[in-house]
Subunit: 418 residues, 2 copies
Amino acid sequence: MKAEIIAVGSELLLGQISNTNARFISTQLAEIGLDVYYHTVVGDNADRLVESIKIAEKRADLIIFTGGLGPTKDDLTKETIAKHLGLSLVLDNHAIIYIEDFFKRMGRKMTDNNKKQALVLEGSTVLENKHGMAPGMLLTTESHSYMLLPGPPKEMEPMFQFEAKPLLPKLLLDENVIMSHVIRFYGIGEAELETEVQDLLDNQTNPTLAPLASDGEVTLRLTAKSNSEDEAWKKIEELQAEILNRVGKFVYGYNNDSLPSKLREILIENDLTISAAESMTAGLFQSELAAVPGMGEALVGGMITYTEDVKIKQLGVDAAIIEKYSVVSSECAEQMALKVKEKFQTDIGVGITGAAGPDGHGGQPAGTIWIGIALGDLKPVTYKLNLSGLRNTNRIRTVKFTIYYLIRLLREQTLSKI
Amino acid sequence: MKAEIIAVGSELLLGQISNTNARFISTQLAEIGLDVYYHTVVGDNADRLVESIKIAEKRADLIIFTGGLGPTKDDLTKETIAKHLGLSLVLDNHAIIYIEDFFKRMGRKMTDNNKKQALVLEGSTVLENKHGMAPGMLLTTESHSYMLLPGPPKEMEPMFQFEAKPLLPKLLLDENVIMSHVIRFYGIGEAELETEVQDLLDNQTNPTLAPLASDGEVTLRLTAKSNSEDEAWKKIEELQAEILNRVGKFVYGYNNDSLPSKLREILIENDLTISAAESMTAGLFQSELAAVPGMGEALVGGMITYTEDVKIKQLGVDAAIIEKYSVVSSECAEQMALKVKEKFQTDIGVGITGAAGPDGHGGQPAGTIWIGIALGDLKPVTYKLNLSGLRNTNRIRTVKFTIYYLIRLLREQTLSKI
């Protein structure tokens, strides 16, 4: 069973946008074990679209179209497919209703022209668009299945995930339920993680196991197929237990967790406040925390101590310590953490100092970073990073490592229950 | 004259990465007026790649391949094309030299295996890879041109832009020189900018004029074709003068300028130091400045005053002002700017306070933001934003607006020469 994705839109051929839809759908299809051999992008041109369909029909069973379902004369996907297959477009009452609903929600008046949006391929299953007007469609003929999805990712992605994808197992596979579960890691490289679970990767069948790395984070996606949700979850739980057994200490969360959201959860649960003194990250750590809504309950504020003078005069770091150990040192990071905690009267103080690059700093080469964490009355802990990236990659990694170390430390030191 | 882009790589079909290469190349081809009718993505499979080439040969004159030029057995683009066209792969001495150079720069030893990377299609023009090992190629037969580029964007983009693109005018067009120039705007929406230059957009021929909007910034790209660089630049200058005449006050820079790099340039040129007190941006403003190397000469540091208590006790904002006007007010932003400037002894002080969302704050609805700028002994200036985005979009926009207002203010107030 093979699938091909055809994206329709001249804006793609002009390079105005990337074809992220093909990526999204491919990831989802890979999860359920459906092979994708080709992606095609074609402009808003009926003749060239028909040519693309004819080619795809020779090499795929399921053809997924994105784009060209809008109300303007440029939008010709459903019209072209209808003509190609010799089908009519018919008004769908369900689509009319949710298009009306959409206009109500937007507080705008629906015109007759918008009713055209409710025209669908005769005999197709209509896929509801909860974030826009154009309905999607799934049409199955004797030889092929044709899926039509809207172009804007914010409409297409939820439609594919929640309306279209659940129809695929019945259409294409033996099982009825597909369940995915993501385990999130930090502080371990992709290669190292893969080595630890190599036998599981080699022998994967059901659940499938897919590693993915981006921006220093690694995830494992477990996808199980089964006839019931209970059975699928049981398969996932079994494999997950084996994975946690091997590399559990690098797990910071699951599914939609992010490092900052996880940290916020732990801070709020334990009624802890936090402040930070940042040098090379210059506010990025606190900004990443504040990106999570509701962080105000835990994040009090802090200082950006970019120069040595500010570290001493504003924050109160001992000049003798900087003199003796330099600004890029365990001792300086520890002092920064202690002083900001004291000054801002929080439960946790964080100090970050280092050489982001491209040049060295404080007598240390680019990429040398010290993170200090002062937690309650415990002796402050410091961590050293030796990063090899460009300036801003190093700054982002430093923030992620800081959050990861905080999560680990809070779990170990104060939160045996987590 | 038509082009087709074939991206080779199973990772694209698995959805592990997006085909950003096709977007990049399409933008560049659109600039020089070359039509792209199709993008294709195919996996690391010789048979399916040949099928894709045969299809592309029927519908395009120039076929551009990305990916599959690496040293592993999965990489088969040049081998497949050689076989398809009945050509040999020959060792290219120039490529050997820069592959050796690359290894020297990386401080690694070159093995015999790496020499295979220097094999190129016989009769092709070799395109140097300044950021990796795999050379690119441009081969012209009687009927078609075939361009082979590496897959990693950081290798492909500079190779296309600086090695391959300059060869295209001679190959495909009448003119010899193509010159592009980007004008960067902030504080004006895409629709508003387009309205102001609508007649120029409608009547564009040479130079072409392409607007592009992303993350609240808008750019206009002017591209001229001509027989000499002088002539091309003269065409660009003429059109640019007309554009600046209409919307010059929203221009913050050109080509590779960014808002923070432009601000740094002005600060350094005028020997000015800056500090900031940030509430809703929580360090993002200072972090964005610090992302530019060498910002340490201007950015001293500052405070993150996330809570009201910190604003009063640490920064020294007058409690009565907050009581009277709330933390989200012109008065509070002004005080924050003044106090941080005074405390950190800088030439410029910036205060940012607002309701990022999703909830309101300080009696103001989400999206209400006040920015205060205290410059030298001048009376502080405040700016109000009413943003309608999500929390983090609002935070990023606020930082960009702050930098834009700073650039404008510095130009107006102190720097008549700029």
